[in-house]
Symmetry: C2
Subunit: 226 residues, 2 copies
DNA sequence: CTTTTATTTTAGCCTCATCTAATTTTTATT
DNA sequence: AATAAAAATTAGATGAGGCTAAAATAAAAG
């Protein structure tokens, strides 16, 4: 049985590896808000428990068991976020911290009943995929917004690594999951983007904010929410 | 800020004192599943934090602060139990352990939104009162079933200290909160009770089981659920 | 009013999860 | 390739929260 701290470390490693990066000790420490030496200790424990392979000084790789365990945590975290937003009326910028606690509640029955209660959602309020009971994830065809060419029509599919501040900013601009718009222009000076929403409203987004917006192709005039 | 263990100890003390008993060290230890020496240490910590007054060798008394804190925990525990039964379809004998974990999630907003979502219930699935945001509890006129005279018509208001096994037994006999019946007879030999339900069905209840059933007067033919 | 038993407290030990400081190893820069 | 900088590991400390065993105290029995 994993402790809460072990669970959070495993999740941090998973999130880093999933994001393409190599889960360097210092990155895990930064995510966890602890020191590198503490991370070394925890990673050893996780390796002992067969959840990851540890090559001292050269980083970690998740085992199949570790990946499965991490996906269970991700599932719980995102189900709770969905519950908080869709049932309790939380804003999408208010749920992370609470879900960070709720995800550690141990009860298979609770997780499965919660999923069913919510209609087995495939995406959380930030557009992140919710693994099913077996760890399977719905595949999508997404790119970060800065990779989109001018003139293209896209739909917001997810906000990746969105801080609460970013989520609030997007909220104030009326940008949410499922929002459809066309990339009108890109400023040479600062790479900021000019967007035109489906309702004709124009808005500007900094390159920094745009980097967190992942979008999927929207065939002209189509509409669908994940 | 209280740790999880401190919270559980405080709750144990509160439950014992509320039940009329004096929260003896060994009783707390038994509730917590730990040893008396561990309890001594935790009670010292709680006393240091101003939650209770500790008279060495002579037991504890809750301070106003301690009582308020305990009631917040009770509120959370019972709200979660209600959620699990009413929304997720758990049985009333399956919720305690999970609520024992959920009660420690720290978020005022979560607690209040959950209460509102559930319709600010005054009683949990076992008939125990749910304190409101200010710790106030709905008063009731209850007696344990063994104190009821033959011929009296009563409504089940709560199951006190019900183990999962007892709750299952009651469930199988069709006894739940709000159930109305008449005490038909009491056996001299073992104090077991003969009951007649509103629908005319007869059933027998051991003195041991009956001791956990708390009932309120039911005027003939009335019906109401807490 | 003693003596025995039950309860509580104290003392000393352990594991977990963190820290700081020192050391080792890897990576980057001259 | 040598040196400097960055990152990771090890070593040793701390505090929380538990344990067992011993000592102190209170309660019950005689
Ligand atoms: Mn967490
Ligand atoms: Mn999310
Ligand atoms: Mn608890
Ligand atoms: Mn209850």
């Amino acid at each position: 049985m994993l402790t809460r701290s072990e669970e959070d470390h495993l999740k941090a490693v998973h999130a880093l590896l999933e994001g393409g990066a190599s889960a360097a000790n210092k990155d895990v420490a930064e995510r966890m808000g602890t020191k590198a030496s503490s991370v070394t200790m925890m990673l050893k424990k996780l390796a002992d428990k067969g959840l990851l392979k540890l090559e001292p000084y050269h980083g970690v790789k998740l085992t199949a068991k570790g990946r499965a365990e991490a996906l269970k945590l991700v599932r719980k975290h995102r189900l709770w976020e969905t519950f908080l937003v869709e049932r309790l009326g939380f804003g999408w910028d208010e749920v992370h911290e609470v879900a960070e606690q709720l995800e550690h509640v141990r009860s298979e029955k609770l997780t499965d009943h919660l999923a069913e209660y919510l209609g087995d959602p495939a995406f959380d309020p930030h557009g992140d995929p919710i693994p099913d009971r077996h760890g399977r994830i719905t595949a999508r065809n997404m790119r970060p917004l800065p990779a989109v060419g001018t003139g293209e029509r896209v739909r917001v599919a997810a906000v990746k690594d969105g801080s609460d501040a970013l989520l609030q900013l997007l909220g104030r601009k009326g940008i949410g999951i499922g929002k459809v718009f066309t990339v009108r222009d890109r400023q040479d000076f600062d790479q900021s983007l000019e967007l035109v929403a489906a309702d004709g409203i124009h808005l500007t987004l900094s390159a920094k904010a745009a980097a967190h917006l992942w979008v999927e192709p929207a065939s002209p005039r189509e509409r669908r929410a994940p």
